[in-house]
Symmetry: C2
Subunit: 388 residues, 2 copies
């Protein structure tokens, strides 16, 4: 069996295995990043033209591209519809980015921690990962400058708004500083913003790509967190120098994104109906966040430290007595509870033990308290066993 060298770096996906285990209805899962079922909008299909069944353009539906460009311009991203590429979920942006930039040994820069599935696909293509630690208001700028002075990464991948997993939202000052650094060193920015609209304090900060003067960039978003993930409709907006390459890579990946989902997304993006839905979503998730915070204080106050997330879908806990949280999974599942260990969110997992990512959007509120109680018990037992 002669597979590509790449396949030797294809890791068993922890997410897949945890989600598979979480299929059992009795399991209380804090693991995924799923929208709450009750907040999936009731969409209509009867007006969809039959022509949406025909092959479409690799770029995406023209009307959707216009709407996405208009939305991005409102956020201060200078762009035209010609820079918008509709993709099959923003995960595909990561695949196209990897193809565009990464050979074996190519240096790239990431936050520590960063989005697990991004790390996996960049490493699959052979990336050598440089990392910058996250602080409460964004990356450590001193370390970022130091890395950039020593290395020339092909790109930097950032999730500045309600980061997955840490829930960090970069401050305005750090956004400006990061943009200035990337311009200074000529490093391409990949800015991933799936959670922008899920803000609980009404706060917002515009994207970093709109603050760049010179550096190339790709901005990516999705309707998965705010509309329907099952549509698999995301998008990227790229600086004009990158767009033609990304378009050809998109075409070779899957010709074009499904038009049925694109048509549905078009009915929402930029509409009053969508704004009303987003308002409801923010209220709903804010309440779930508050309830989760209450239950955490009850069960985890002595076990872990955390920031209350101001947006997104996750709490990021740091254990006061760190241990490899991957070792907790088996015991947790025996207690019919599951979560996402923190280690795989780091390029060097062994050196970053003791974090847990807990999703608060999807758990049945009636089972929240019991679920966190059981998870705390699992951790206490493991720490006691470790101490013994």
């Amino acid at each position: 069996m002669a597979f590509s060298e790449r396949v030797s770096r294809l890791k068993s996906s922890l997410i897949r295995e945890i989600l598979a285990a979480a299929q059992r209805p009795e399991v209380m899962s804090f693991a995924g990043g799923l929208p709450a079922e009750v907040m999936l909008p009731k969409v209509q299909w009867q007006d969809m033209p039959l022509a949406m069944g025909q092959y479409g353009m690799s770029e995406g539906e023209p009307q959707l591209r216009e709407a996405l460009a208009a939305q991005a311009r409102q956020l201060g991203v200078p762009c035209e519809a010609s820079q918008v590429l509709v993709v099959s979920g923003s995960q595909q942006t990561l695949d196209l980015t990897a193809k565009l930039y990464i050979d074996k040994g190519t240096q790239i820069m990431l936050e520590a921690p960063t989005y697990l599935a991004a790390l996996q696909i960049f490493q699959l293509f052979g990336a050598d990962c440089l990392t910058v630690p996250l602080q409460a208001d964004g990356p450590d700028l001193v370390q970022m400058r130091a890395r950039l002075e020593q290395h020339r990464p092909a790109f930097i991948y950032l999730i500045p708004t309600f980061q997955n997993p840490s829930a960090v939202r970069y401050s305005e000052a750090k956004r400006d500083a990061v943009a200035a650094l990337l311009d200074e060193f000529g490093v391409t920015l990949i800015e991933d913003e799936p959670y922008r609209e899920l803000t609980f304090d009404g706060g917002s900060a515009t994207p970093i790509v709109g603050r760049l003067e010179k550096a190339s960039w790709i901005y990516t978003g999705t309707v998965s967190k705010t509309l329907l993930p099952g549509l698999r409709v995301g998008y990227l907006i790229a600086s004009p120098d990158l767009f033609p390459h990304l378009l050809r890579l998109k075409q070779s990946a899957d010709l074009h994104t499904n038009r049925v989902g694109q048509w549905q997304a078009m009915q929402w993006i930029g509409s009053e109906q969508y704004q009303a839905h987003l308002d409801q979503l923010r209220s709903f998730y804010r309440q779930r966040r508050d309830e989760f915070q209450g239950a955490l204080l009850t069960h985890f106050a002595d076990l872990a430290d955390w920031q209350v997330p101001q947006g997104g879908l996750f709490f990021w806990l740091s254990l006061k007595q760190p241990l490899d949280t991957r070792t907790l999974l088996k015991s947790a599942l025996e207690h019919d509870v599951t979560f996402m260990p923190g280690e795989p969110f780091f390029a060097d997992p062994e050196r970053n033990p003791g974090h847990l990512r807990l999703n608060f959007s999807h758990i049945d509120p009636a089972r929240l308290d019991e679920g966190l109680k059981r998870l705390a018990t699992v951790i206490r037992q493991a720490q006691a066993a470790q101490a013994a």
Copy 2:
């Protein structure tokens, strides 16, 4: 600008450019492979469960996987639903295959000619392409054996039923012989069958993968040619040794295929309604094929040789006086007619001039005669200029 080495092999897509030119309504296009709009079935959406909007499994919808496995077993492919992976159009199977097998310089084996977009993505990943010439009933077995005795390709990619572009359908004897050769040399088979159901003489031959005894295999199909390409729903079925790798590559590419399209495909695959639709489709395209053959005899009898296709969507013409058909495109578009040059369907285009691929499914019958007349004129003018 430091892109990956791969990007230096990213060719400008001739298909994209021709299709873009063909958007002008006055252009008579024989270039694409589009279904006729009038044969797109009127599908219903009102019964689709809201849950199809939620994230789904990377493998695909369980009910759809069962239906696809049952359909494949009827064709003699020994498989279970656990071997079925729903993909975002069968183009994605080519992307996953490239990722699974191809490093720079990896040898693979292809038909000459072969599907343009397959060639492009395999070459993008750095494949070194060995080729086997096609004859009227399938590949040249003497040359295939000779290549296999000298090389050990990572896989062989074949389109045995109404091949794109040549319309060749392998005979039963050649299918058996190819299977035996691949078993003997232990070469993995990638069998691509988008056109199987579009048979005009009622003839059929079962897939080659069902004839293998030992070799690994991937079989891929789609609903794009028989239902709605805009859904972007295809599938692959793989031997059990390959499936886990393909599943993880699928997850890293786009998490899962859109569930809306999967749900619609489920309403059709294996149903009586689908069989009735396929019967209508075959009759409709058979008539278009016959009309096209009539018009070809009028305008091309002295210019080219061809076989009458017994299925699929294309005529494959070989000019009696070969010239590089890519040089005809500009003049053809000036005459508001377009087609697909044959050269890009070969791994070594410069050594294979003089073929044209003409699509007969999509052209308005009222413009067929005028379109072929103009195309013949363009060719005659070019040949006259060449002779002068």
